[in-house]
Amino acid sequence: MEIKMENLTKVFVAKDKSEVRAVDNVSLTIPSGKLIGLLGPSGCGKSTTLYLLAGLLRQNDGKIYFEEDEVSNTPPEKRGIGLVFQNYALYPHMTVRENILFPLQNLKVEAELAKQKTVEMARLVGLESMLDRKPKELSGGQQQRVAIARALVKTPRVLLLDEPLSNLDARLRLQTREEIKRIQRETQITTVFVTHDQEEAMSISDEIVVMKDGVIQQMGAPQDVYDDPSNLFVAKFLGNPQINVFDGVIKGKKIYINDMVVGKSKLPDGEVLIGIRPEGFIVDQEKKSPFKFNIDLVSTIGRDTTLIVDLPSESDNILDKKSFKAIVDAMLRIQSGDEIHFIVRPEKMFLFNMEGERLE
């Protein structure tokens, strides 16, 4: 089911009467049957947006539509949503079976059918054998799946997940990530999930929505957003290691960093910020490129080598020192101290004005 938000705004008023616009005039359409990741740093309004969709928070302004239905003022229990809380909020005194059954009982589903659905759902999340355990007796990952089962058993129109993986250890996180994607594919329920982990968002979402200060920065397929960020914030937020940002100038259709030419541009002369993804550096074996540095640190992990280069700086203060990272093929056997000439792949280089807005 398609979800549409129109000019959604949520303002929190603190005790000292200061206002925080947690969600600021957000308009967004979430296509039916897709898995959408709401992504951003903490305090960006992503969780607030999710709770507005759930109805646990009420917006100050704006509208929410589920398909043609306006649900802006519908209480949560009438919205037909399933919500998985960050720490699952499983009822600790109920068994897994009772937890999953609970929403069905409230919806007055006929007892036999409810039982059958509960078992079906437990099977979907792979917890059939654990139905009579209490949440305490389950691992974090299993608890999380119970929470998903409880959210899905009433066949909601929308599934909302609040930081679903943040309480899991690294290995379990990868596993559960796949699990969520599988369950979403099988059920085809429009799913919105919130995360601050860009890798997580990029790996399972059909589309990601990047937020900052309550405002949507960009929305699109994960790879599209990564390859074509609309501003410096998005460029920096996606990608690990982070994108390298250089102070640069454009002079006579050429782009310079530290007086070295790194590429061409049709933009007028002036100062710019240049973002180059770590994988955007190619080592020039013929040593012809003018873009060259002495390598300070080399760390090789498997097939990739990360080169760390300190940029020359006028200040002696260690905090002013800037460095950048380049990821190159480990086969090149580069060592610290080597002088390396780099060629920058144009498609991995983005130009921003000093306010961080994308140029071109």
Partner: protein
């Protein structure tokens, strides 16, 4: 090393243990002892005397109609007042919790009885239950109900018991509400959000979320207030004075029975009767606490 630590631990515990020994363990054991003395005269010239050991003290009070009256009164008070007051205080605590603004004010109001003298309240209640001038009968008259003689000389047993129960329940609310409101604060708000998402009605939330999550507190309150109710005495004195009822001894409780014989300490064996009744009360209390513990094991969620 371990031994020295043990010594230290005993040392730290000593003040409490000594006080408990003097004021709790010794009297308890002494009560057992006195209850089996034959013809005990605590004030005999030249020191207390007894002619031997016997169980006849127990036989004597178990054959005393007044003792069975005390048992009946005590049980009725305990079995009716405890569940009702728990239910009422639970409802009040939950309602208090859902009105954040006036919560502090109401909490104070509900806690006032706890810090007010029971005898004073008893007198106020006695007046409220007065046949001709009392507030209760006035309110009943609004509903077209004839005035009831609650605490007067010719009041029926149930009328007196009714008044006593109302007073007992009301007097016990404050502490229960306090415990339950603090218990409610320990429940994660997220369960309520989850229940909302799960389309639970308010009643379902209360029955299936609040009560189970509050169950350790409910168990604590039900055990302590059961013990308290079995020891009922102050309420009877407060409401009826030393006659212990509208008619002489009609509302007597086990503790009041104990006190009656204890006051008659000059009489032969009177103290032994008091001790025997106290011992019987002790075992009744132990049995009920154990039963509650066992019954609740299945239902209490920690």
């Amino acid at each position: 090393m371990e031994k020295r630590n043990n010594l230290k631990a005993w040392l730290y515990l000593a003040p409490l243990l000594i006080l408990m020994g003097i004021f709790i363990f010794y009297p308890l054991i002494n009560a057992f002892y006195i209850s089996i003395l034959e013809e005990y005269r605590p004030l005999a010239p030249g020191g207390a005397t007894a002619t031997g050991y016997t169980l006849s003290n127990f036989a004597r009070i178990l054959n005393d109609e007044l003792f069975w009256q005390a048992i009946k009164n005590t049980f009725v008070v305990a079995f009716i007042s405890v569940p009702i007051s728990i239910l009422i205080s639970l409802v009040i605590a939950v309602s208090l919790n859902s009105i954040p603004k006036l919560k502090a004010l109401y909490q104070t109001v509900f806690f006032l009885p706890y810090v007010t003298n029971a005898i004073a309240i008893g007198m106020a209640f006695a007046f409220m239950f007065h046949k001709d001038y009392g507030l209760i009968n006035l309110m009943l008259s609004w509903l077209g109900i004839d005035p009831v003689n609650w605490v007067g000389n010719v009041a029926t047993w149930w009328a007196q018991m009714g008044a006593l129960l109302v007073y007992t329940i009301w007097g016990g609310l404050a502490f229960k509400i306090l415990v339950f409101t603090s218990g409610l604060q320990n429940i994660d708000k997220q369960y309520y959000d989850a229940a909302k998402i799960d389309s639970a009605s308010k009643w379902t939330v209360f029955r299936r979320i609040t009560v189970p999550l509050l169950s350790p507190f409910i168990l604590y309150i039900s055990i302590t207030s059961m013990i308290g109710a079995l020891k009922a005495y102050r309420t009877v004195i407060g409401l009826f004075g030393e006659r212990l009822g509208a008619q002489q001894n009609s509302m007597i409780t086990i503790v009041a029975y104990v006190y009656k014989y204890r006051s008659a300490y000059q009489d032969v064996s009177a103290i032994s009767y008091a001790a025997s009744a106290a011992i019987i009360l002790f075992f009744i209390t132990v049995v009920f606490s154990l039963i509650q513990g066992v019954v609740s094991r299945k239902r209490v969620h920690y």
